[in-house]
Amino acid sequence: MLASDVTALWLTIKLAFITAAILLIICIPLAWQLASFKGKLKPILEALIAMPLVLPPTLMGFYLLVLFSPTHAFGQFWFWLTGTQLAFSFQGVVIGSLFYSLPFVMQPLLAGFKQINTTYNQAAIALGISPFKRFMYLTLPLLKPSIGSAFALGFAHTLGEFGLVLMIGGNIQGETQVVSIALYDHVESLNYGAAHQLSLVLLAISFACLVLLFKFNKTVINGAANRA
């Protein structure tokens, strides 16, 4: 395998890991709130979270490019905060991936929260345990399988990210050239041999990811049907 492909592979794994980790931190409290939320806005919030499932990634990429621009308020704010520019940088790609993979982390968590038996929680309330402690010692441990699958799905989905990175990345080695972009490069330059090799590696990693997911998380993925 080419040295640039190894760099791309490592970068992709790093990106997928960071994205899935940040999404977990954001989504666990969010899903917790949303699962017990009964307001009229609930379907709207759920739809918003699911939007990246249906939007074309290149479209999201284009609007992120507009958002990241130093002529735009958000781009200016980021520049003021960090002194760097988001487009064409690893941070920019991470932000893009957070949007891109959001529903894949959110859905298993939401499903997980909805499945947790409320009687435990009621018992804990009766015992006068604080909401924070209930969350830490009761809800989180019960949620473990969902957290596992949320992470794995977010990770696997980010591995295959393409259109969005293509739009905002600028194809820079070691910074924004992820595996899918490197693959596209090989195919476009009629370099099929290298493309086949890299695809095979990506395929193996993604497959391993999914095997692990299904092995450890039967309950969450098929959960609703099995428990009913």
Partner: protein, 250 residues
Amino acid sequence: MLKLYNTWYGYLLLLLVVFSNPLNAKETLHIAVASNFKPVLQTLVTNPALKNINIKISAASSGVLHSQIMHGAPYDIFLSADAARPHALIKDGFALKNSLTTYAIGLLALWQPSNSVINNKLAIANPRFSPYGQSSAHYAKNYIKTPYEFVYANNITHAFQFVETGNAAKGLVALSTLKSAYRKTKNKKYLNYTLIESEKYPEITQQGVIISATKHLTAAKKFMAFLNAPSTAKTLLELGYKAKESDVSK
């Protein structure tokens, strides 16, 4: 396909085709065009000279179209953004050798819409697979003296978007893209470019071929002749391309 005409079932097929069409029916041409040329093609096909041909346009990157044709896509003509892919199709028997023509020559412009974006990013199309990118990289390396840092766009229009959105301060873009943007919006920022002398970069030769499997050879030939006509060359120049024989420097 041509050999078919020498056999009796070839004649039968020909008769079938002839009689299954009403006499004055328009012929339909399906043209696969590299994305950068699509707006120009859309303008060209409105020309009265082509009123008897019904033209369908499919635009994508030359690489994608090339693969599609290799796998039997039903196109009659392929207008590529480079010379390599039409040649490859001819070599593999997918396109007609004598139909090969240089229909346009791409022109590069260095575009910096404003001085408000302060970074040294220079957007170019990816030189690994885009002919515009190869010429852009060649020009930048040899002639741009101020410090810059490349950002690679997926194609020449995407390089334009990097600059347009303000993420790259400047970029090497196609003159045709700037002209088309100016025509649509009349925004003065699309005029803040420097046209680059064509001696300073490898020529961006955009070639086209007729696909061997076409069932509309006559119409396809007619279209190719139209594409190479002097009147078309004039339109091309207005839209930001150079025709093969014309010279923009004079």
